[in-house]
């Protein structure tokens, strides 16, 4: 790459991907949002307030931890963990909700809506809404409401209204549909906080920009700790916000290999997975063109993953671009492999990871042994595993 990476273009396109594919009523609020985002991103006062919130409320910078025991066990590259699990609310999601909530406040919006799958983004949104005294409505598929009841209760404690969505497959994609329907109905006073790098422009770029704090910190911390850049970055990809947050500041550093890890569920060959980059094809959903899981008639296919946070048929359009351009590699990890990653980190390092992040850990178990002992891998430990205790116990036949 000779030119500095500078995606998307001013219409939100990452090559053939991204863009604005929404019904007409949403065009004016999207334009309003884009103008506000462009303005405040360059506003020193906004940046200062965001930085202060990230430091004092979220608890940044998150540590870059050298997992020495696990590295030695794997017998290859040195593995460093970017500890997003230590953020307030327990995942990287809050980096973005803090940013978008400040934007909502600046724009004079009094009502916040969000979609959520596992509930992490819903909790992170309810958290910032509570702090700013804004009304908050979170849409969640009824299937997810049932399997993530703890997060539903957390959101309610924080003062949010959780709406259980009964349409379609009753999971994350349907929650997103319902949030879009709410937004189109309440455009005048409502700010829609999308939780991942998907949706119509400017969301993929804006959410990425709020998440790049992960990569910027990691780069500086790696240089301080080792005196050089890492050789590889590994992150799980559902919508892809934690991955793009880590990858983006390294895109022009072509010596750094990028690995995005999708959820292979029961295995790509079974069709029961959530891996559009590995096994899907380009299409249009939720406001952007990207790799999607849809059938030969263009209907969206139901997805499967042990991890509710990766259970989504699309992926951020920038990942689609990074895949086609060859800059990033996209691989996949099954439910069973993810469980092995989960147990490995828990036992070797005393850190209980989220099931989403366990996909990145499981791929690291394959990658590290193929590399030299002075090579460096940074893995994004995007969230902590407390929320997954019931899922894991159930899978392993243990009654809590």
């Amino acid at each position: 790459m000779t030119e500095k990476y500078n995606m998307p273009d001013d219409r939100g396109h990452f090559g053939n991907y991204g863009g604005i594919f929404v019904a007409e009523t949403l065009i004016p609020p999207i334009q309003e949002l884009n103008e506000a985002y462009q303005r405040y991103l360059k506003d020193p006062e906004f940046i200062a307030e965001l930085s202060a919130d990230l430091k004092h409320y979220v608890g940044r910078p998150s540590p870059l931890y050298h997992a020495q025991r696990w590295s030695k066990h794997l017998g290859g590259a040195q593995v460093y963990l970017k500890r997003e699990d230590l953020n307030h609310t327990g995942a990287h999601k809050v980096n973005n909700t803090v940013g978008q909530a400040l934007l909502a406040k600046r724009m004079g919006k009094t009502r916040i809506i969000a979609e959520t799958g596992a509930g992490q983004h819903g909790v992170a949104t309810a958290t910032v809404a509570a702090r700013l005294g804004l009304e908050c409505v979170v849409y969640m598929g009824s299937v997810d409401v049932a399997r993530q009841s703890l997060n539903v209760y957390r959101m309610k404690l924080l003062g949010a209204t959780v709406v259980s969505v009964e349409s379609g497959s009753k999971t994350l994609k349907d929650a997103l549909n319902e949030a879009l329907r709410d937004w189109v109905t309440n455009v005048d006073n409502t700010f829609y906080i999308i939780g991942t790098v998907a949706g119509p422009h400017p969301y993929p770029a804006m959410v990425r920009d709020f998440q790049t704090v992960i990569g910027h910190e990691a780069k500086q911390q790696c240089l301080e700790a080792t005196g050089r850049l890492p050789d590889a970055l590994v992150a799980c990809v559902g919508g892809g916000s934690n991955a793009i947050g880590l990858f983006h500041p390294f895109i022009d550093d072509t010596s750094v290999a990028l690995y995005g890890v999708e959820a292979a569920g029961d295995g790509i060959e079974t069709g029961r997975h959530s891996a559009p980059l590995s096994a899907g094809k380009p299409g249009v959903l939720h406001g952007n063109r990207t790799y999607l899981m849809s059938d030969e008639d263009g209907e969206i296919i139901e997805t499967h993953s042990i991890s509710a946070g990766l259970d989504y048929p699309g992926v951020g359009p920038e990942h689609a671009w990074l895949k086609d351009s060859g800059r990033a590699n996209y691989v996949s990890i099954t439910d069973t492999e993810a469980m092995a990653g989960f147990h490995a980190l828990t036992k070797m390092e005393g850190i209980i990871p989220a099931l989403e992040s366990s996909h990145a850990l499981a791929y690291t178990m394959k990658l590290a042994p193929t590399m030299k002992q002075d090579d460096i891998i940074i893995v994004n430990l995007s969230g902590r595993g407390d929320k997954d205790m019931h899922t894991i116990a159930q899978r392993e036949g243990i009654a809590l």
Binding site: A23, E24, S167, G168, V184, G287, E296, G298, E299, I300
Partner: protein
């Protein structure tokens, strides 16, 4: 002149307005749609909007969402919608058909393949809900080159600039979404619709059909008087949903409502 342009011109000359029903193709089953289309024509409708069922209908309210789910349960698809349109044309060469749906089925079909197939099926217009003009220029040209009208939506918050854009890219008619919300939503504010139509008229000479929230004959007349036509969707589909075990009654109630609307609009 396209079939849609001719239809609106003839209506205009006779001082009448277009009655435009929307039904989801294949709801509640694939056999129900074709006889219903012919019956609606007999009841005096001017244009038929055929919904292409989609798994993720983001702009639709619960009534049309469930219609999509019922149709998809019978494996209704874009391909089969085109087959059904072809069947309809065998005995009706006059009534314009507009396909209305979301972009992904068309994207997966392939834009040029779809434009060719739609031409072959003798479809008259295509309304793609989540394809705004910014993303639609090539697709719009493909349709227009085949004599098919690309129909665009206008909303209560559309600016002069955007209305001009739709006027330039669209043809046949423009579809004014009369309220901020999803299909079948609550109450229309007539004064707001009147004011908006003045703004729209100032920026386009295309006919304007008005929809979202038209529920009964009185409302259809009021709305049609303001624009060039009224679109009725959820109110019709509700009749299907209320009579899933007695589809003859469903069809009868749909025709009765459309007949009442026709009379009110022509009075």
């Amino acid at each position: 002149m396209s079939r849609l342009a001719a239809t609106f011109e003839a209506l205009h000359k006779s001082g009448r307005k277009a009655l435009i029903p929307f039904i989801t193709t294949g709801d509640p089953n694939p056999d129900f749609t074709l006889p219903l289309m012919h019956a609606m024509v007999a009841a005096g409708v001017d244009v038929i909007e055929l919904g292409i069922p989609f798994s993720d209908p983001m702009a639709d309210g619960p009534v049309i969402q469930r219609a999509s789910e019922r149709a998809l349960a019978h494996k209704m698809s874009l391909r089969r919608v085109l087959v059904l349109a072809t069947e309809f044309r065998k005995t009706n060469q006059q009534t314009p058909i507009v396909l209305m749906g979301y972009v992904n089925p068309i994207e997966i079909f392939g834009y040029e393949n779809f434009a060719n197939a739609a031409k072959l099926a003798d479809v008259d217009g295509i309304l793609t809900v989540d394809l705004p003009p910014e993303e639609a220029s090539e697709y719009g040209s493909l349709l227009k080159a085949r004599g098919i009208d690309p129909i665009f939506l206008l909303a209560p918050n559309s600016t002069d600039e955007r209305i001009k854009k739709m006027d330039a890219l669209g043809s046949g008619y423009l579809y004014y979404v009369s309220l901020k919300g999803v299909t079948g939503a609550g109450h229309l504010n007539i004064a707001d619709v009147e004011a908006k139509l003045q703004q729209i008229r100032a920026n386009t000479r295309l006919p304007v059909a008005i929809g979202f929230g038209v529920k009964d004959a009185a409302m259809a007349k009021t709305i049609a008087d303001i624009g060039d036509g009224a679109v009725i969707g959820s109110a019709l589909i509700s009749k299907i949903e209320a009579n899933l075990n007695d589809l003859d009654t469903a069809k009868h109630e749909i025709i009765a409502l459309l007949t009442a609307m026709r009379h009110a609009m022509d009075a």
